[in-house]
């Protein structure tokens, strides 16, 4: 079939809302850049409490993403492939944190993993482990909020993938684990990578569940989004500087990962 390239006129009724939509997404970020005190940026970066917060954020988001990968990919496989009863219910449950306000997630985590929570009381009594107000608590909160992004991405790809390759591998005598590792996983690698990036970005930006469950203490639980929020009240300029740093990191990682992902998928 040959297609003629026609310069199609874009209907105004589509163009106007489309441009407005674009403006809604772009103008606030552009405004942030316009308001940034570029001349004082470097001294502010050097002096402010940027680095402990940024280090903590990167560290926690990466750890949370690691947890999400280790637990989330098998979970996605279970939802896509295994013959488990009530699979659609499980699938719905997994996506709940996606639509749940993060602060509600924080409250729920507190009630379960808090010192007197359903599980937390035993963690405290048996192992002396208490998650709230610790860096580990930040990681748990971020993993809770971010894991659905990974699971949904990987599960979608698994369901779209052709199961016959796996069946072929298994008829050739490969074990289930070997098939998963050498056949299933490579076939959905781009989706795993895309899910990982989304998961990481979501974890990096996590605010509501973190401040509710892990509290706020510099160097321990004050991640970048918390630092931005706190600085906004005392020192708006510092909040802008922190925001620009966070924006830069997110965009850089997304761009870097996307390049690689596109190249691999191509």
């Amino acid at each position: 079939m040959t297609t003629r390239r026609v310069r199609r006129r874009i209907p105004v009724l589509l163009l106007v809302p489309a441009l407005l939509g674009l403006a809604v997404l772009v103008v606030p970020l552009a405004g942030l850049l316009v308001e940034t005190p570029w001349t004082r940026l470097w001294p502010r970066l050097a002096s402010a409490e940027v680095w402990p917060a940024l280090r903590l954020s990167l560290w926690c988001a990466t750890l949370a993403t690691g947890i999400c990968l280790v637990l989330g990919v098998p979970l996605a496989w279970l939802l896509a492939r295994a013959d488990v009863p009530g699979r659609s219910l499980l699938r719905a449950l997994v996506t709940v944190p996606l639509v749940l306000p993060p602060v509600v997630g924080g409250v729920a985590l507190l009630l379960v993993f808090g010192r007197r929570g359903l599980i937390g009381q035993y963690l405290d009594a048996w192992f002396g482990v208490s998650l709230p107000f610790t860096t580990a608590g930040v990681v748990v909160a971020e993993a809770f909020v971010a894991m659905p992004f990974l699971v949904v991405a990987v599960e979608g790809a698994l369901r779209a993938a052709d199961p016959r390759f796996e069946e072929a591998a298994e008829t050739l005598g490969a074990s289930g684990w070997y098939t998963f590792r050498r056949v299933t996983l490579p076939s959905v690698a781009p989706a795993v990578l895309a899910g990982t990036v989304l998961c990481w970005a979501r974890a990096l930006g996590e605010f509501g569940a973190t401040i509710t469950f892990a509290g706020n203490f510099p160097g321990e639980t004050t991640t970048m989004p918390l630092a931005v929020y706190l600085a906004l009240e005392s020192d708006p300029e510092a909040a802008i500087v922190l925001s620009v740093v966070l924006l830069t990191v997110s965009v850089a990682v997304l761009a870097g990962m996307r390049d690689r992902w596109v190249r691999r998928a191509a």
């Binding site: 009630l111 107000f133 401040i211 706020n216 203490f217 639980t221 706190l230």
Partner: protein, 248 residues
Amino acid sequence: MRSAIRCLVAAVFLLSACAAPSADSGGRITVFAAASLTEGFGELGELFEAANPGVTVEFAFAGSSTLAAQIRSGAPADVFAAASPVHLTTLVDAGLATAPAAFATNRLQIAVPPDNPAGISGLADLSDPDVVLAVCDPLVPCGAATETVFEIAGIAPEPDTRERDVKAVLTKVRLGEVDAGLVYRTDVHAAAGDVTGIEFPESAEAVNVYPIATLTDAPDPVTAAAFVDFVRSQTGRDVLAEAGFGTP
């Protein structure tokens, strides 16, 4: 398509007609108040509405610094009641509020869960690094008062979390997530039964004076001024005293 647009226009028109304030609305004011005023002002608001039929009082309770930042950003509030003069003074300096007047005082108490798991009996016990401690962020008045009492007592406890307002500290104590939290005595009063309050002498050195003022850009300055007068009236003082506040 044309009829669809006509429907849309009609719908928008109807909606805007609903949203527009009616001319004879008997006054509706928004009061921004420090989190520690939640109970006291909640009751005062009801009394004020009862005394002024047709008037509605909406409250936004949060940390004083949060509210001050929102007012600076143009939040449509009529009245601001802060937990310390600092946050209102900056607004007065910026021309956003006028004539602040002190209307109540408050002081800190140590709040512990009823079973007092860490056996706290005074301020000095908070220095123990094993005590899980919640305090207010130094930005908000209760946090500033906390720093003052630590300084006076000559101790430097390491808090496990710095919360955004005093109610967040109280919640952490209520849930038993922390062994102790520094809150106002009015918060202990409000959470009677769920937490135990422990007095300490240093709190007398860090009494917070609460100022209230109408805001320059108040949408309803007349009702706003009436509410401020009501808070400062004898009734207002009685209600606040009942909630555990002192008089300035």
